[in-house]
């Protein structure tokens, strides 16, 4: 028979920390300490005006309005503007550390695809409590191709037309993406300039742009590292912590104004991004409902070709391809 005391005593014993884990923890702490010294030596950015959710220009949303399955797309589209009230705190030391470490890991990866024909991304996303599959082939030249059963109702290839990478109010071609500076100090003013007033405010939009250029993008490792470094300096970005996505993968999540990015700290890959609650809709009046969305990126890489689009498939703009 066990007393409470015995039960508690028998569960008190755990193995001691290993020397390797102790060392790793110290390294992570020392990085944060170094960042603290750096951030305290520079003046903090003034607080932004009250939070508005950034309007993200996911490709899903971009193409959605003009295809047949408008209703399904509307659910995904409106997810991006769910209201949120997170305050604009200053720069979070923990979030900055996570982002900088992710940048270092991303920058250490092999790659750079300035001459690839396509960038193929496979993802799964949840919105309105339903799961959808998505494959996109972004063309270096010519037409991009999308298969998305949340947009089209099935996985038939559809023609997207020529495509660009959004930076606020500017669309960059593949070659222009590769011409971006990879020094964060030089890249940030370029991005700020390209924002051209898009988004609720420049700071919120910069966070959105970083996310946009990390997902479904052939951005090379050095550019990804610079993007993470810029994100580390954006006020209001907070560390969420460990996060397990619906595919069972664990990453580290950071969040700003309800936009959550889940990062694999081992290689800096973007595992997921989440806006609001993808399961439950919120009434937006007049019978419409807004849903959150959780995108989980399964794979991304260069491709030499894309699926052939049936000749009767309309382009998103309405014209037959």
């Amino acid at each position: 028979m066990n007393s409470l005391n015995e039960l508690l005593s028998s569960t008190a014993g755990v193995d001691d920390i290993t020397p390797v884990a102790l060392h790793n923890g110290r390294v992570a702490f020392d990085l944060a300490l170094a960042d603290l010294a750096k951030s305290e030596s520079s003046a903090p950015e003034p607080h932004q005006r009250p939070a508005q959710r950034p309007h993200r220009r996911k490709r899903t949303l971009f193409i959605g309005a003009s295809v047949a399955a408008v209703a399904a797309v509307a659910a995904a589209t409106t997810a991006i503007v769910l209201s949120g009230n997170s305050p604009n705190a200053g720069i979070s030391l923990m979030a900055a550390t996570v982002l900088r470490n992710a940048g270092k890991a991303a920058g250490a990866q092999q790659g750079g695809w300035p001459n690839a024909a396509y960038w193929h991304t496979t993802s799964v996303y949840e919105t309105g409590g339903k799961i959808y599959h998505r494959d996109i082939w972004i063309a270096h030249h010519g037409n991009s191709v999308l298969e998305d059963d949340g947009v089209f109702g099935n996985m038939t290839p559809n023609n997207l037309g020529s495509d660009v990478f959004d930076v606020g109010g500017t669309g960059l071609t593949w070659d222009q993406l590769y011409a971006l500076p990879t020094d964060p100090a030089k890249l940030e003013p370029v991005l700020q300039s390209d924002i051209k007033g898009a988004g609720p405010n420049p700071t919120a939009e910069l966070y959105t742009v970083v996310g946009d250029l990390l997902r479904e993008s052939p951005a090379p490792p050095a550019l990804r590292e610079a993007l993470y470094e810029i994100a580390a300096g954006i006020p209001g970005v907070k560390l969420v912590g460990h996060y397990k996505d619906a595919l069972g993968r664990t990453g580290t999540a950071v969040e700003r104004d309800g936009e959550t990015l889940v990062i694999d700290p081992a290689n800096g890959e973007l595992l997921a991004d989440i806006s609001g609650n993808p399961k439950t809709g919120i009434s937006c009046g007049g019978g419409c409902e807004e849903y959150g969305a959780a995108y989980m990126f399964v794979s991304g890489g260069p491709a030499t070709s894309a699926p052939v689009v049936p000749t009767n498939k309309a382009r998103p703009g309405g014209a037959a391809s």
Binding site: S3, N5, L7, L8, I17, L22
Partner: protein
């Protein structure tokens, strides 16, 4: 072990202006903080969360007041509680999380041999509110005095003693009811035995 011979209290007093002293506190207390985390979340998450506790402590250093015991551990445990809450809240999808969870029962079960013991401990601890359970565990698992546990939880010493008494009583009642126990002992904090 660090070569810095100053007491925790001296280090904490200097911490607001000398954040690098957190490194000394890491050397001294990281193993204890790791055990705290491992008891509640399991060893693998504890490895990941350890640095987060000390990084969060960096953020919180300007508000620290040394406990009269002189140890920095109550303060660090208080920060670790918040880090654990954050961890448990976000390791699952945000919309499906039990609020204020700070114990992974599977990790606790792994340290008990018999199924019956597991059930008994769960019954006893689940009969308590989260703050009362944490108070009991800080005393029973971490060996804090009720006064030190009070600091970790941000409550008064008087409230801690009262709540600890209540927690023991309630846990014993639950245990008794679950297994017909007739004679039980309960964990007593160090200061109560002195």
């Amino acid at each position: 072990m660090t070569g810095d011979q100053r007491s925790d209290g001296e280090l904490l007093a200097r911490l607001p202006r000398q954040p690098e002293l957190m490194g000394t506190l890491y050397e001294r207390h990281a193993p204890a903080v790791f055990r705290y985390l491992a008891r509640r979340a399991g060893p693998a998450p504890a490895e990941d969360l350890l640095s987060e506790v000390f990084i969060a402590a960096l953020d919180a250093r300007k508000r620290v007041v040394a406990h009269r015991s002189g140890s920095a551990l109550p303060w660090l445990y208080g920060i670790a509680i918040n880090v654990l809450r954050h961890y448990f809240r976000h390791r699952q999808p945000i919309w499906a999380v039990e609020p204020n969870q700070v114990v992974d029962w599977d990790a606790v079960d792994a340290r008990l041999d018999a199924e019956a013991q597991r059930r008994q401990l769960r019954v006893a601890l689940c009969s308590l509110s989260e703050p009362d359970r944490e108070l009991l565990l800080l005393v029973a698992w971490e060996g804090l005095t009720s006064s030190e546990a009070a600091e970790a939880l941000g409550i008064s010493k008087v409230a801690a003693r009262s709540r600890l008494h209540r927690a023991r009583h309630r846990a014993l009642q639950a245990l008794h009811g679950s297994h017909g126990l007739t004679a039980v002992t309960t964990p007593v904090s160090r200061e109560e035995t002195s």
